[in-house]
């Protein structure tokens, strides 16, 4: 059964969200109130303008704007001699909870960019998967009196009418804000679970402050949970090859501890490796992933958690099903992007603008100078 709610709900509510509501201090909404206010105030600035919706087509269905990617590092070749840790799946009643958040650019106005965010939390309850999906919430990112900047701690101006790196950073920061908020809610409101994040546990950049991630991990530990973060894409490499290839020929499930080698490469500040870094191959003939496990969890406990994950969740293709579902539910399809564009046009009086498309003007097969966007 799928339930759709538009009214404000809190963790006190029964049913599905009750899992997350245990021991939560006070009432807290599923989406941060300040983000909703920020969305409202940013969208109010665009009344009556024209906008150019993002183009989506049947031939361009992959429309995710970003993916977690760590920084590029070259790792010592000594790793090649390292033995992987064999994992014995443990089947028990462990609960697995996964969190993922997606953002997408949905269009441009004269002053900036329109984007949307959505968070999804998925857990396994009595043999079936349950989800709680929050959003989408939409934002108008501009440079004029940018209240987003102060809210998000950015000082650089955003250039108008351009999908600049700064705009991108604001979008990422909005996404991080929602992601960390949702992760914190899950960690603080559930006990004795295996909590899966998308990405790594590397923090310490302005976009991803270390103290916020630390507090999330602390909260999880206090509640007897262990946080595991899976990176779908990693730039860590050895001898020019991705480290994930190190386990290609190894039997599954297994882990390769590369924490020491990674740590050596990182300066002690400002970036912090809050998780112990492994390469994980959880399924035979499956993919391998970078796996970060909360550094404050003892190594034995970390390995046991992976064993329990391996026994309690589906790990076809080497990726936990709970996290896969969270990803599927949070990401936007082309159809949803058009729906959000229609929502924006209808609710904020935006008119669809015909704008010259430089790329199409220069390279389009028929040299069309203008397009209907």
């Amino acid at each position: 059964m799928w339930i759709h709610r538009t009214e404000s709900i809190t963790y006190d509510s029964p049913n599905i969200s009750s899992l997350l509501s245990k021991d939560l201090e006070g009432e807290e909404s599923l989406l941060p109130k300040f983000l909703i206010q920020l969305s409202n105030s940013s969208m109010r600035t665009i009344k009556g303008e024209r906008f150019k919706p993002r183009e989506v087509s049947l031939f361009d269905l992959r429309i995710e704007d970003e993916d977690h990617q760590d920084s590029s590092l070259m790792i010592d070749e000594r790793l090649l001699q390292k033995e992987p840790i064999k994992i014995e799946p443990i089947v028990d009643d462990a609960s697995v909870i996964a969190v993922d958040v997606s953002n997408i650019k949905v269009g441009e106005t004269n002053d900036g960019v329109l984007c949307a965010l959505r968070a999804a939390t998925v857990w396994k309850s009595e043999g079936s998967y349950v989800y709680l999906r929050c959003g989408p919430i939409v934002f108008h990112i501009t440079d004029c009196g940018n209240h987003l900047l102060s809210h998000l701690g950015l000082k650089e101006p955003v250039l108008p009418n351009m999908f600049s790196s700064v705009t991108m950073r604001i979008m990422n920061r909005l996404r991080n804000t929602l992601e960390r908020y949702t992760q914190r809610l899950v960690c603080s409101s559930s006990k004795n679970n295996i909590i899966l994040f998308d990405g790594s546990l590397t923090a310490g950049t302005p976009d991803n402050p270390a103290n916020r991630v630390q507090s999330i991990l602390e909260s999880a530990r206090e509640n007897g949970s262990v946080v595991l973060a899976f990176s779908k894409a990693t730039k860590l490499s050895i001898g020019g090859r991705r480290v994930t290839h190190l386990l290609d020929q190894m039997p599954a499930p297994c882990l390769l501890d590369i924490d020491k080698e990674i740590e050596e490469q990182f300066p002690s500040s400002p970036v912090k490796l809050l998780g112990r870094v492994y390469i994980a191959k959880l399924a035979l003939a499956g993919y391998t992933f970078r796996l970060d496990i909360d550094r404050h969890v003892p190594i034995e406990g970390a390995i046991e958690t992976v064993s329990r994950l391996s026994g309690c969740d589906l790990v076809e293709q080497g990726y936990p099903e709970t996290l896969r579902l969270a990803h599927i539910l949070s990401t936007f399809t082309a159809n949803e992007v058009i729906g959000i564009q229609r929502f924006i046009a209808k609710n904020y009086g935006l008119r669809i603008a015909s704008q010259p498309n430089l790329r199409r003007s220069l390279f389009g097969p028929f040299g069309t100078g203008r397009e209907i966007a």
Binding site: M1, W2, I3, H4, R5, T6, E7, S8, I9, N15, I16, S17, L30, L31, I36, S39, V56, S57, L58, D60, L61, A116, V122, S128, Y129, V130, Y131, L132, R133, C134, G135, P136, I137, V138, L325, I328, L329, T333, A334, N335, E336, V337, I338, G339, I340, R342, F343, K346, N347, I372
Partner: protein, 479 residues
């Protein structure tokens, strides 16, 4: 609604679920800048091929079995996404053009995608004649307006009413008969199931109408003397209704002429003459067996006072009357004989200008109409004033050539592909429109194609009749 695509004479429109459009509706794509508009008719409604829809549905299908949950959507954005999933593609056929207020069937204009406005178009206004002094109230159109046409639209026309069983063909046919009679037109109905016989009786207990409906029962109140019938008609009966071989027919002609010369042309003397005629035994046997059939039919009499006065009948018909020839429970030979004689007599009356014209309604004509009459009806008989309406639930019993010459086709629902194929092949509009619209027509809804609607195919919900129609199917079980 927005204009999306034009391919040939097909226009595709994008429509949201809150915009109510149905098959058969007329729309005007109005390009106000050039003061021109395309008149299009909706022939199909499909889901729009929105980008990513397959991915969306697959995602739903893949997860709905294994996962359930809640959505917290504070801005209700998802409602717009849902709307998008139900966005429709309206397939329309171009039927004409409005240029500076004038409607024409030639289309030379491509409306603007950007500035065109799409509105409902009340096609009835373009169809209904200025002069409606002889009204036929057909029913209500999709836009819930009354469709009233002048009886002139049936005058001199060949019409076909077809559709599957129980959809309302006979109902429309009765409506046409009654409307024509109300407008003082003569009608003859070949009633195979005896369902027209009570047309003068109101369905309620209210008194009978003043409509002039006369019922003829062959062999009961439809009897003729041999002299009335004449040799030509009798030969037609013998050859085409009773399959008498040509040689025997020649012998029969000799017997008939001799009796006629002697002024002894009676049924009794004909029987005696056949038996005593000098001819080959096999010829005599053939003629005797046909004579017996004729004699036993009860349609012939030697008493002139019993015989039907065709000239009187013609006068009454000409004043506005429906003559119902009740052929219920008659065996096929009898039906064929009846029709042979009736058509022959009507032809005589029309040729001699004793009648101006007659509207001829033939239900399931393949049951009694001989092969050669089909072409005759649409060519020669039409010119002398027999304006036929064929009513059938088996469209393939009517030849393609008849369809092609039909001025109006009143098409009710068909589900069967073969039936749709038959009608679509020969109808005056494209086969695609016929198939797509007729398949979804509800009971008593009819797609009118042809001259009556100035070649703008129109879906009409036919008015109910307040008369005893008796055409409904009899049921054993009660509700």
């Amino acid at each position: 609604m927005r204009l999306y695509k034009k391919e040939g004479d097909i226009i595709q429109l994008i429509s949201f679920p809150d915009e109510q459009v149905e098959k058969g509706d007329y729309l005007l794509i109005e390009d106000q800048k050039v003061k021109k508009g395309l008149i299009v008719q909706v022939i199909d409604i499909q889901f729009a091929n929105v980008p990513g829809m397959l991915e969306d549905i697959l995602r739903d299908v893949m997860t709905e079995e294994s996962i359930h949950g809640e959505d917290y959507d504070p801005f209700d954005v998802s409602s717009q996404i849902t709307v998008l999933k139900d966005t429709r593609l309206i397939i329309c056929k171009i039927r004409g053009m409005i240029d500076d207020g004038r409607i024409s069937s030639s289309v030379s204009h491509l409306p603007s995608r950007i500035s065109s406005k799409i509105i409902r178009f009340p096609i009835e206004r373009a169809i209904e004649p200025q002069d409606k002094s002889r009204p036929i109230h057909f029913g209500t159109t999709k836009s819930r307006t009354e469709l009233t046409l002048d009886a002139k639209v049936l005058d001199g026309r060949l019409n076909i009413i077809t559709g599957k069983k129980g959809t309302g063909k006979s109902h429309l046919s009765k409506l046409l008969v009654l409307s024509l009679v109300d407008n003082k037109a003569p009608c003859v109905v070949l009633d195979v199931n005896g369902e027209y016989v009570n047309l003068s009786k109101n369905r309620s207990s209210s008194p009978e109408t003043k409509r002039r409906i006369k019922v003829l029962m062959p062999g009961v109140n439809m009897k003729l003397t041999l002299a009335q019938v004449g040799l030509g008609t009798m030969l037609g009966v013998l050859l085409f209704a009773l399959d008498l071989p040509g040689n025997s027919a020649r012998v029969f002609s000799g017997i008939w002429r001799q009796l006629q010369d002697r002024n002894e042309l009676t049924l009794t003397s004909l029987g005696a003459a056949i038996h005593s005629w000098n001819c080959h035994e096999s010829v005599r046997d053939a003629i005797v067996s046909r004579y017996n059939t004729i004699a036993e039919s009860g349609m012939f009499t030697d008493d002139p006072s019993e015989a039907l006065d065709f000239e009187k009948m013609a006068r009454e018909l000409s004043g506005g009357e429906a003559l119902i020839v009740n052929m219920k429970n008659q065996y096929s030979t009898m039906r064929r004989m009846t029709v042979e004689i009736l058509l022959s007599k009507l032809t005589d009356l029309l040729m001699s200008w004793k009648m101006k014209a007659v509207f001829f309604f033939a239900e399931e004509a393949h049951l009694y109409l001989r092969e050669t009459y089909w072409e005759d009806i649409v060519t020669r008989m039409r010119h002398i004033g027999i304006f036929t309406t064929f009513i059938t639930n088996q469209p393939d019993t009517i030849k393609d050539s008849i369809y092609r010459q039909a001025d109006n086709i009143f098409l009710f629902n068909f589900m069967n592909e073969n039936d749709l194929e038959t009608v679509s092949r020969a109808a005056k509009i494209d086969g695609e429109s016929v198939k797509l619209i007729a398949r979804d027509l509800p009971v008593h809804h009819c797609l009118i194609i042809g001259e009556a609607v100035k070649n703008f195919p129109l879906v009409v919900n036919i008015h109910p009749l307040n008369v005893e129609t008796m055409g409904e199917t009899r049921f054993f079980f009660k509700d």
